[in-house]
């Protein structure tokens, strides 16, 4: 289960309206490497994870990703809160405005709607953790790309925080993958799938 805390993990305080910036950052809400995909990926993978410590780590990181999703949505909300009809015509935000006004709706920056295929829950501990390592790096690259094209320091502060978290999550998933390899047949950890061939898993 979950409980809610009435605060953002890191403060988002943006005073300057900028629909163009919002139309780019929305990719970290509903894009292929965004926070929604990250959270749902880890929270879906954890059920069949045969090592409970790693299932716990997936829960904790998946939960933090929900807090990141909330920060990204807060950024977009504040960037478009005082939008004028004239500003709504901004290239890149105009089409979104027609369909969603200034509501939050998960989509990639290029306009592709959120797709559950991004969850990438495969049912093999090695496969899933390798996916998670790549996912954290893909999210980090997306933040790098955003940080390169955005100037507003109020927007950059939370983006830099979020980028750092991708690096930390990558580190923790790497440690989890090493632990799983140690627990499997060290000569060939591809010998079986620990999530399916349970008779091989050491107690």
């Amino acid at each position: 289960m979950w409980t809610y805390e009435k605060r953002l993990q890191f403060p988002v305080h943006i005073t300057k309206t900028c629909p163009k910036t919002a139309s780019l950052i929305i990719s970290q809400f509903g894009g292929p490497d965004g926070e929604l995909a990250a959270s749902m990926r880890y929270l879906s993978q954890r059920y069949s994870m045969p090592f409970k410590e790693v299932g716990g780590l997936l829960t904790d990181i998946g939960t933090e990703e929900l807090a990141h999703l909330e920060m990204i949505c807060a950024i977009i909300f504040q960037l478009t809160k005082n939008l004028t009809a004239e500003q709504a015509k901004t290239a890149g935000f105009d089409a979104y405005y027609i369909d969603h006004t200034t509501a939050l709706w998960p989509t990639a920056a290029a306009g592709v709607p959120f797709n559950a295929c991004e969850f990438q829950s495969k049912g093999d501990a090695i496969t899933d953790l390798t996916e998670d390592l790549a996912a954290e790096q893909k999210a980090r690259t997306t933040y790098d790309n955003l940080i390169r094209v955005i100037d507003d320091p109020d927007v950059l502060a939370p983006l830099r925080f979020l980028r750092q978290r991708e690096v930390v999550h990558f580190q923790r998933f790497g440690e989890a993958l090493e632990k799983i390899k140690d627990d499997l047949d060290s000569k060939n950890y591809y010998y079986f799938n620990p999530e399916f061939d349970k008779q091989f898993v050491k107690a």
Binding site: E5, R7, L8, V12, E53, A74, R172
Partner: protein, 107 residues
């Protein structure tokens, strides 16, 4: 009595330290120094959340206190009246709730 934004900044920083330490301890469950640090900050966070709820409004369900609806009466529709305090305070994604971003200095 600390000001709202200074206190919220302290809560955010203490909570973040715990968020990060939690993930570290998930993969380093026997690290004595980390456990000690976690425990210290856990107590600090609990105290801060309690004080914040008493002075302003509750940030977490466990801190909801119907009897003390805060000394700061600006963030409630029902000042000086027993009421459901969970709805008090700014909504977390609003500018007003994030003014602590401008508070300078560390803990």
């Amino acid at each position: 009595m600390a000001d709202r934004n200074t206190m919220l900044k302290q809560i955010n920083e203490t909570s973040f330290l715990l968020d990060d330490m939690k993930l570290y301890l998930d993969t380093h469950p026997l690290d004595e120094n980390a456990m000690e640090q976690f425990s210290d900050y856990q107590a600090k966070r609990k105290q801060l959340l309690k004080e914040y709820a008493e002075q302003f409004e509750p940030l977490a369900c466990d801190c909801i206190c119907l009897e003390s609806n805060g000394s700061d009466k600006t963030q409630t529709q029902y000042p000086n009246k027993r009421h459901w305090t969970w709805s008090d305070g700014p909504i977390p994604w609003d500018l007003e709730a994030n003014a602590c971003a401008a508070v300078k200095g560390g803990r």
